[in-house]
Amino acid sequence: MPSNLTRRQSLKLISAGLTAALLPAGLLWAQSSERLSKPIPSTGKTLPVIGLGTWRTFNVGSDPQLLKARTEVVEAFFADGGGLIDSSPMYGSAPDVIGYALKRLGIPASLFSAEKVWSPAGGSVREQVARLAERWGVQHFDLMQVHNLTDWREYLPALREMKAAGTIDYVGVTTSHGRRHAELEKIMASEDIDFAQMTYNISHRDVEKRLLPLARERGIAVIANRPYDGGSLIKGLKRREQVPEWATQEFDCRTWADFLLKFIVSHPAVNCAIPATTRVDHLNENMRAGRAPLPSADTRQRMIKYIESL
């Protein structure tokens, strides 16, 4: 009770209140270096800000050695409190490889399964979802997205029916590489969707102009794909540069993964970034970026200028 608070406790409370007021909307953390989560606008359920992408990296077929290696990546992801894993029938054997890992590790409570329906996969939406559930070894998916907006007029109503029936929890659409933004904007403005997935990283910021503000306005959660621009961004930085000292001082940035991922997830409209990797050490770097503190708005501008100056 206030009357029982010491002066020190009162100061702490005021300080915490001020900090919360200055944070990007919806960002939750208990104290410095704790794992960050953001609420999904349509339900309020929180989602860790660093997820796991699987494009290229999880397409290993039936190779036992690589299946074991990817299982170790998934194990490390969940050991660090990971949530969202994103895949697609377009990613070859990736859904089977996730299923292999989940079968061996068990399905953790934190799993937020995100898949996609995709025209070339064939079959109706329900058939595609059923096949994917079998490949993952899960009863239902948290999020089902329309891959690259293909046939979205046909797919979205079917997905909404499945959401109403409880077969899936959330409905979304995806784009990548900055493509089809006009159409995505139209869908976000007019359709009832929970998630929109798009490419957003420090060197591709087109979505800041219209799509991210629209997502906030419409209460749509955003998943940022290609956070390292397909790997070329972080590889180029690691080859040429050290992380700037001011970044370390301002938001405890120790690696380029910190720098690039914290830039993305510190945008108020972005819920989650989904870096993909084949290596546990890289996964651990990625997961560290999901911990406080995040860069402030001013620091974000400084980060952009720094990258543009290279």
Binding site: V60, M90, R179, D206, G230
Partner: protein, 239 residues
């Protein structure tokens, strides 16, 4: 930003380099020592081609195209890339085309002229596919288990076949028999480029050299027809 300009080459390759080289590892582990037999068949086919037994040369390599189509593409590569199904069937069709040419003798060089540029180039290219290609990966710092061999892996099979058809075929048959090897070597070269394999350019250079040699052979065709003796066929050793 236009849709296509936003793509990079690696966006079309749905797996990483470690997955590709593990595929080579696994294929070699599974089929060793079949490599010795396929190499022996390739060497025999080259000797047959050079000695005027064109039909035997084509019939020797046709089953290896089926084997690569099924064992490499349909059973393994297609797990990683949906395009593997199409490539597998294309290799089987190529085998059918080689058998058809051998049976009908359509476009078979009679008799082979060994000392012209296309035939010399064909011999060199076939030798590269048989004896040079398996060394490329190990010499580039990759594991010997990732070596690619004629009759087991598609690239050396396509290169060796390019060499053989330069020696034993002419005209339309030569160009038709080159379609599938040509398409695969383009795809393989681009794949290796995206995966950062240092010999990707060597593959594309071999492809261009083969096409130049084929064009040269085409240009020599009228002269060759004039000098051809009536009754020559491709089933007998060159005198």
């Amino acid at each position: 930003m236009s849709d296509w300009s936003s793509y990079e080459l690696q966006d079309f390759i749905p797996f990483t380099a470690d997955v590709y080289f593990r595929l080579l590892d696994r294929t070699n582990e599974t089929f060793w020592p079949l490599h010795l037999l396929t190499l022996a068949m390739g060497c025999t086919a080259l000797l047959c081609a050079l000695s005027g037994r064109a039909r035997i040369a084509l019939l020797l390599i046709a089953p290896l195209w089926v084997f690569v189509g099924v064992a490499y593409f349909l059973q393994r590569y297609a797990e990683l890339n949906w395009a593997g199904h199409y490539a597998g069937w294309a290799f089987i069709v190529q085998a059918g085309a080689l058998v058809l040419i051998a049976l009908t003798r359509y476009g078979i060089e009679r008799p082979p002229r060994l000392l012209n540029i296309p035939s010399l180039a064909g011999t060199l290219i076939a030798a590269l596919g048989l004896f040079g290609y398996p060394w490329i990966a190990p010499l580039s710092g990759y594991s010997p288990y990732q070596a690619e061999t004629f009759g087991i892996n598609p690239a050396p099979t396509a290169i060796t076949t390019f060499g053989l058809i330069l020696i034993v075929l002419r005209g339309t048959a030569m160009w038709l028999a080159a379609i599938v090897p040509f398409l695969w070597l383009i795809l393989a070269g681009l794949t290796l480029t995206a995966l950062g394999a240092p010999w990707a350019n060597a593959l594309l250079v071999t492809l261009v050299a083969t096409l130049l040699a084929m064009a040269r052979k085409n240009a020599l065709e009228p002269e060759a027809h004039d000098k051809r003796r009536p009754g020559d066929d491709g089933d007998h050793p060159h005198p």
